[in-house]
């Protein structure tokens, strides 16, 4: 059940494979004390009971909560201003007649139907633990009204667990008799959506009050409709009273500590770490100022004398290269004529792609002879051009300090496909071949092993990259494990499928010194709107082989289509050069769609590593500053029984830009996938540098979304 964050999308965006877990949740967020707090379930509400409130849009909160025999760790995300989702990992001791502990994963959704007005409360409907084994399964409709900005009252009706104390026969029974009884959940292997039982069986009322006594302190009291029946029956916990009391204290901008007195019998505490992708430490970042624009002297535009001189081009290449290098970028190639220049740049610093383009344009005003009026800037990654942005020098001169300069430059810029842009371009001397390397610590994490819910391996990693020629790259990394316990996991792989991912702990145990990857990759542009990659070698720690990919992405299209075909052979556990005797042809057809407003969807359909056929559905909320938070689910022809616990593969995905934390420009991002369960069905090859992510950033509408940074 170990997890390694997915391969980074763009080779130059070095994405350390450290663990994300709680790490990202300690990121700074603006103080948001709009009178809401989180429950012991890590959702917005009172002590145990939900309210109809929503968190600030995009708030991402981790909660650890403990009382009596229950510990819950929850990650909640305000997906849209009205919709929130939570993922929870709980441990309940003594949850069976034999006294064994229960480890449970649960998902919640809540939707705010109605906003609060002067005369009407906010109303929300929620599903708690609606996938899976259903330990916390319940549904509710809740209303919350603020009497003053600091005082809110909440009342609601709950079903399932929230209808278990002083329940009455279901009012929905008036519509249909089926609502009167709640069927026992046939949870099988867990993980299935159990809609048949929703809003059925006895219902009960709950309610409470929250009072924000000071800016930092909130007091809460509630009447709970959860009887904690099973906990009380088997365990040390006892529900003596339905009344709960809590206090929430903001100990730091984004850290809240809570204390609770629960069910007349026990004390508990919880800790909330709040963060928000929309609030980096420094808006706009603290990076160095760009070079100013050099305005041409009147008449300079018609002076063509320079075109006659010898060695001018080499000189201009060198000057441009020096300026770019001084700003963390690089010049790969240049093509110049009397009135136009095309520069191929590599941007390894600015995650906001328009910022790299804007800075390059300003540098060109410093260097280029006056007659050069048209600047075409072609960003390159892995030796292939991703788009061509053409701006007019006079616009750059005139709009530098214009109030509306960002929008006007965008409106006047032409963004086009760059497939043939390299014809006749001259590469900078000494650029290829090029060796780059780095040494640093690494961290790998494994989650949700009942024996040890969080396991970490750490050690040193040596990475190298050799650019042989544009688009031809040898890349490798070696890891030396120094400490850790992922390999100690000994829950045997009990899968009936080929064990393509369930032996990760053996890889961790036997691969003390591991060749993490060693590949030869070729990137090229087969034609307009087309991007291609072929990677061969030791592709990832568990598989080697050949991976090839073709992507169709017109420069201004919201839609992209991709095809990937791989031949993979499972590697030896020691992760040196040997292979085991499992091999498979795997591949997918993919469709990517940018829905706008920051929502990005993806469907991958094809054959997975264990030979199963199916599709993966992914939805990400992407922020212009580089963050993304998303979820995916994979359904294949492997039956839920054969898949095993969890029934199908699903997970949460995160991308955190380092610039969010540092406040300095950096195009490094930190990516991670959290899978509640890692099993063998629906598993994909982890190939480095898949094409879409690196291409997307330099295309519209993404360029447009962060064009405000053109003049940064």
């Amino acid at each position: 059940m170990t997890h390694k964050p997915s391969a980074k999308p763009a080779s130059r965006r070095r994405t350390p494979r450290a663990m994300i877990g709680a790490g990202l949740l300690l990121l700074p967020a603006a103080a948001q004390t709009e009178g809401y707090s989180y429950t012991t379930f890590g959702t917005l509400g009172l002590v145990d009971m939900p309210t109809a409130q929503s968190a600030e849009d995009a708030e991402l909160t981790a909660t650890y909560s403990q009382f009596a025999n229950t510990a819950r760790t929850t990650l909640s995300f305000q997906i849209t201003p009205r919709l929130s989702g939570s993922f929870r990992y709980s441990k309940i001791d003594d949850y069976s007649p034999g006294g064994g502990a229960l480890f449970d994963r649960s998902f919640d959704l809540r939707y705010r139907l109605v906003d609060e007005t002067d005369s009407r409360p906010a109303i929300a409907v929620g599903l708690q633990d609606f996938i899976g084994t259903g330990v916390y399964s319940s549904e509710y409709i809740v209303a919350t009204k603020s009497v003053t900005p600091r005082l809110t009252f909440t009342g609601g009706i709950g079903w399932g667990r929230l209808g278990s104390y002083k329940g009455f026969s279901n009012p929905l029974g008036a519509i249909d008799d089926r609502f009167d009884t709640r069927p026992d959940r046939d949870f099988g292997r867990g993980g299935e959506i159990e809609a048949t039982g929703w809003f059925r069986g006895d219902a009960a009322l709950f309610g409470g009050v929250a009072w924000q006594a000071t800016d930092k302190l909130t007091l809460k009291a509630e009447y709970s409709s959860d009887s904690y029946g099973i906990e009380t029956r088997y365990g040390t916990f006892e529900q003596k009273s339905p009344f709960n009391f809590g206090l929430d204290y903001q100990i730091h901008d984004n850290i809240h500590l809570q204390a609770h007195y629960l069910y007349g019998s026990t004390l508990g505490f919880s800790l909330n770490l709040r963060s928000n992708p929309r609030h980096p430490v420094v808006d706009g970042g603290k990076g160095p100022a760009p070079l100013p624009v050099r305005r041409r002297m009147p008449g300079a535009a018609s002076d063509l004398g320079w075109t006659e001189a010898v060695g001018v081009e080499a000189n201009l290449r060198e000057q441009t290269g020096t300026l770019l290098a001084s700003d963390g970028m690089a010049l790969e190639a240049m093509k110049i004529s009397a009135n136009a220049v095309t520069v191929h740049i590599r941007n390894e610093r600015y995650l906001a792609r328009p910022e790299a383009i804007g800075r390059t344009a300003r540098m060109l005003t410093q260097v280029m002879p006056g007659s050069v009026e048209t600047f075409t800037i072609v960003p390159m990654e892995n030796g292939i051009p991703l788009s061509a942005v053409t701006v007019h020098r006079s616009d750059i001169e005139n709009l530098e300090h214009e109030g509306d300069g960002a929008w006007q430059t965008y409106a006047r810029a032409e963004i086009e496909d760059a497939a043939s842009s390299r014809e006749n371009a001259t590469y900078l001397e000494g650029h290829y071949p090029k060796l780059t390397w780095s040494v640093g610590p690494y961290f790998n994490a494994g989650y949700f092993d009942p024996d040890e819910p969080l396991r970490i391996d750490t050690g040193l990693r040596l990475q190298g990259r050799y650019d042989i020629a544009p688009g031809w790259i040898v890349s490798g990394s070696i890891e030396q494990r120094l400490a850790g316990n992922i390999g100690d996991a000994d829950r045997g792989a009990n899968s009936v499928l080929p064990k393509v991912r369930s032996e990760t702990s053996i890889y961790a145990r036997e691969g003390d010194t591991a060749l993490e990857h060693l590949t030869l990759a070729h990137y090229f542009r087969p034609g307009k709107d087309l991007y291609a990659r072929v990677t061969a070698g030791y592709l990832e720690s568990q598989f080697g082989g050949v991976s090839s990919e073709l992507l169709w992405k017109p420069v201004a299209s919201r839609l992209a289509l991709g095809a990937e075909v791989n031949y993979a052979v499972q590697r030896d556990f020691d992760q040196r050069f040997g292979f085991r005797d499992y091999e498979i042809a795997t591949g997918h057809l993919s469709a990517y769609y940018d829905f706008g407003n920051g929502y990005l969807g993806k469907v991958d359909a094809g054959r997975y590593l264990a030979g199963d056929y199916g599709a993966t559905f992914t939805l990400d909320r992407v922020f212009a500053n580089g963050w993304s938070v998303g979820a995916y689910a994979t359904f294949t022809d492997v039956s839920f029984d054969d898949f095993g616990e969890g029934s199908f593969d699903k997970g949460l995905r995160f991308t955190v830009p380092l610039s969010h934390v540092l406040g300095e420009p950096s195009d490094k991002t930190y990516k991670a996938v959290i899978q509640p369960l890692t099993r063998d069905g629906g598993a994909r090859l982890k190939v480095r540098n898949r094409l879409y992510e690196s291409v997307r950033g330099y295309h519209t509408p993404e360029l447009k979304d962060s064009w405000g940074r053109f003049w940064r």
Partner: protein
């Protein structure tokens, strides 16, 4: 607690890797390096007066008589010298040795870069007229928000005084009061508001 140490560790992983690819090259321009000589952080932060004293004719000579300016954020103890690196029509852009830039249009601040929470641009055409003739002006500021989107703020300002002009501005969320010391129809020193996060900056020609 466990979480925190892990977070710290993973950040360390991000920050401590070293190698040939990760050039942390200095972004100081040649002018900045020349300047470092006398703005090296001293035991005590230099005040605007200290810097004014240090700008001797020899120093001006070293910068080939480029325009210089002294600036200090009100929330910061250290003042800094700035050298003019760009002129675009009537906007001059000045740089500190550590590559923060300020752009002024006839003495009125229209942009900052590198401070964080920067003023991305401002429309001050009416402000310039207000400084000359008094009356009322509309001033528009643009900032980047946390999602890199441009946020527009506008203010209504009125003017009083002659040699020492006070500009009183009111907006939806903030109000501020700038002051300008005029000499020969030009701004020679001023205290101007950048934005809600950075507050005021003192500017002075030298």
């Amino acid at each position: 607690m466990k979480f925190k140490s892990i977070a710290v560790l993973s950040l360390l992983g991000l920050l401590t890797a070293c190698g040939s690819g990760q050039s942390q090259q200095s972004v100081l321009g040649p002018i900045g390096q020349a300047l470092l000589g006398f703005t090296q952080p001293a035991s005590k932060p230099s005040s605007m007066a200290d810097i004014r004293r240090q700008v001797t004719p020899e120093v001006r000579q070293r910068f080939q008589h480029t325009s210089l300016m002294i600036a200090q954020l009100e929330q910061n103890e250290r003042a800094s010298i700035l050298v003019r690196k760009g002129v675009n029509r009537n906007v001059e852009t000045y740089f500190t040795p550590d590559n923060i830039s300020l752009s002024v249009k006839e003495g009125v601040l229209v942009g900052t870069r590198g401070l964080g929470f920067d003023l991305m641009s401002s429309d001050v055409a009416e402000v310039l007229s207000g400084l000359r003739h008094g009356g009322q002006a509309v001033r528009v500021h643009r900032y980047l928000d946390g999602e890199d989107q441009i946020v527009i703020k506008s203010y209504i300002c009125d003017y009083s005084g002659n040699a020492q002009i006070t500009e009183n501005c009111y907006g939806k969320d903030h109000s501020f009061k700038n002051s300008y010391q005029m000499s020969g129809g030009k701004v020679v020193a001023s205290r101007q508001w950048i934005g809600p996060d950075l507050g005021y900056i003192w500017l002075e020609d030298v």
